[in-house]
């Protein structure tokens, strides 16, 4: 009993540690004082201001579109690559996996700098596309590592059976393989989206002067003080994702019941 209590307490403590700054940011979004360190009373003012602030809305738009496009492209390239890697022989497979691990294990600062130097050496103007390419690059490994375990659980005979029954390989892929690996594909997409959204360092080095994501916009404001509208925006984004996850989880829980009985 005591042990159980200590365990719960410990998990609670770590979750508090992880979520304390988030609670503070949510509180700050309702603070009528512009200063970060003073409480001036409750207000919804910043939520109204937020939608009028064109530069924040632009940064939000850029962030979301880069996160979405990079996650989507990374999911397509990564899932295809995972299928190919899964059927490779041991040596090429080990090499592919090792190279896949490079952007995950390498320091963000080195990845960012190396990509920036590449773009500059190619005389490619830094801007939206260079950021998008960089985000796809660091997102693909997350997709591959999410899809690979699902592929390993796959029974190869179902695919063969589909082919024997006259399905074309493409049709068999969409009807047989994809539904089985879809949870992994979805996890990969979600992870990639999150990583892109949260990235600062690589964007910092590969963006041009004329575009800003939320991260880089916040970084320029660190010294002079963050605009309270940003707290309001991050609160809205956080709550939106939280609700989405609760919904997905509840739906999955509903689904799981009948399967267990079979």
């Amino acid at each position: 009993m005591v042990k159980k209590f200590i365990e719960r307490f410990y998990v609670g403590l770590i979750l508090f540690f992880l979520y304390a700054p988030i609670i503070i940011l949510i509180i700050l979004s309702f603070n009528s004082s512009k200063s970060r360190s003073k409480w001036g009373g409750f207000t919804l003012h910043w939520y109204k201001e937020l939608f009028k602030n064109q530069s924040i809305m632009n940064a939000l738009y850029t962030t979301l579109i880069i996160a979405f496009l990079s996650a989507l492209i990374a999911t397509i390239i990564g899932t295809a690559a995972a299928i190919a890697i899964n059927s490779m022989k041991k040596t090429p497979r080990t090499i592919m996996i090792a190279i896949t691990n490079i952007p995950m294990l390498n320091a963000d600062i080195v990845t960012g700098i190396s990509l920036m130097l590449l773009f500059v050496a190619m005389r490619y103007t830094l801007g939206f596309t260079s950021v998008l390419i960089s985000h796809i690059t660091f997102n693909i490994p997350y997709v591959i590592l999410s899809v690979m375990p699902k592929l390993k659980q796959l029974n190869p005979h179902t695919f063969e059976a589909a082919l024997d029954l006259g399905a074309s390989p493409v049709y068999a892929f969409f009807k047989v393989i994809l539904p089985d690996i879809f949870p992994g594909v979805l996890t990969g997409f979600f992870l990639a989206f999150t990583m892109s959204l949260d990235d600062f360092v690589i964007t910092h080095f590969t963006k041009g002067p004329e575009i800003n994501t939320l991260s880089t916009k916040i970084y320029t404001e660190v010294r002079k003080g963050i605009k309270p509208e940003i707290y309001a925006l991050s609160t809205l984004m956080f709550i939106a994702v939280l609700l989405l996850l609760v919904l997905i989880n509840r739906r999955n829980a509903d689904k799981r019941e009948p399967i267990k009985k079979v």
Binding site: E7, V11, I14, F17, L18, Y19, A20, P21, I22, I24, L25, R36, S37, I77, G78, A80, A81, I83, S87, M88, T94, M96, I97, A98, I99, T100, N101, I102, L105, N106, A107, I109, T111, S114, L115, A121, I136, T137, I140, S146, M148, K152, N155, P156, F159, E160, T187, T194, D198, F200, V201, S215, I218, V222, Y231, S234, M237, L242, N249, N252
Partner: protein, 296 residues
């Protein structure tokens, strides 16, 4: 459990079946990796060669080792040593916090793997710069901790702009990367092995030391690399929580690029990469399956 094990033996693992699927697979699927191979060469391998080129040349395209030797400059050397110390301490703290947490999560009845992963990844939806700035609020002279201490008439804590604040920021930001790999390895350990050990008379400490710890080592190693490398190379956390006085190697490199000194910055990045390569080499030694699966 037993039924699962039996199923495992008849599903894909046997070599003949795998070969059958493989040969069919290779004919049909090899081309699927071409876009990825092109992408890797173009945006992972070539950029690393470019950084090598910049690190080993001068502005006049002459070969030189001066950029790399600039690490021996006392200021740079001190920033590297400080970064190594701070990232070592935060890696150890992360490991000590994460291992018990992963064990408790593994034991919990809530076996929904994805839910636990979500809870730990969810904070990333608040921008990491903002979360780090929020720590300023907590640690400041007039911040939350000191307000509470003052209320109880306790002495004030001076944490902000010290190395401790940076360690705290590192632990806070990178703890998830230690928890997830360890948790992922722990859930894969076959409960029958643990039960067998207990049946054969091992107590819980022996079971932990002889069974669980060795089997979870791959997760621990990848956790260590996933925390150590970003801590070693950060410049943002030290910028926000360390004030301007504490300079880590990441700050030095960022500054070199900000003032346009690309060759020196690349040279120092190459030095950093030596440490990253060492971590990767250690990791690959423990990733016996060569699947990279232990990272996530």
């Amino acid at each position: 459990m037993k039924i699962r094990n039996v199923l495992n033996t008849i599903t894909p693992k046997t070599p003949s079946q795998k070969n059958g699927a493989g040969s069919l697979g290779i004919r049909n699927t090899k081309w699927l990796s071409f876009p990825y191979i092109l992408w890797m060469v173009g945006f992972i391998i070539i950029p690393l060669i470019v950084i090598l080129y910049y690190g080993l040349t001068t502005n006049d395209k002459l070969l030189t080792l001066d950029n790399i030797k600039s690490i021996l400059d006392p200021i740079n050397l001190r920033s590297l040593r400080l970064a190594l110390e701070l990232s070592f301490v935060s890696t150890v703290i992360c490991l000590l916090l994460a291992y018990p947490l992963a064990m408790i999560l593994n034991k919990s009845k809530m076996k929904s793997n994805s839910f636990i992963v979500m809870i730990i990844i969810l904070p990333m939806w608040m921008n990491f710069l903002l979360r780090t700035i929020a720590w300023q609020n907590i640690l400041e002279r007039t911040g939350i901790i000191n307000t509470v201490l003052k209320f109880f008439n306790l002495p004030m804590l001076n944490i902000i702009n010290t190395p401790s604040a940076i360690i705290l920021g590192m632990v806070y930001n990178f703890l998830p990367f230690m928890v997830l790999p360890i948790y992922n390895v722990l859930i894969k350990i076959d409960k029958d092995i643990i039960n067998a050990a207990r049946d054969l008379g091992a107590n819980s400490i022996q079971t932990f030391l002889k069974i669980i710890l060795p089997l979870s080592l791959p997760g621990v190693i990848s956790g260590i690399t996933m925390v150590f490398v970003p801590s070693l190379t950060t410049f943002v956390i030290s910028n926000i929580l360390g004030g301007s006085k504490i300079v880590l190697i990441g700050n030095v490199i960022e500054q070199q690029f900000r003032i346009g000194n690309w060759h020196a910055g690349s040279g120092l990045s190459l030095v950093l990469m030596i440490f990253i390569l060492i971590s990767m080499a250690i990791l690959s030694k423990y990733d016996k399956e060569g699947e990279g699966g232990s990272i996530w």
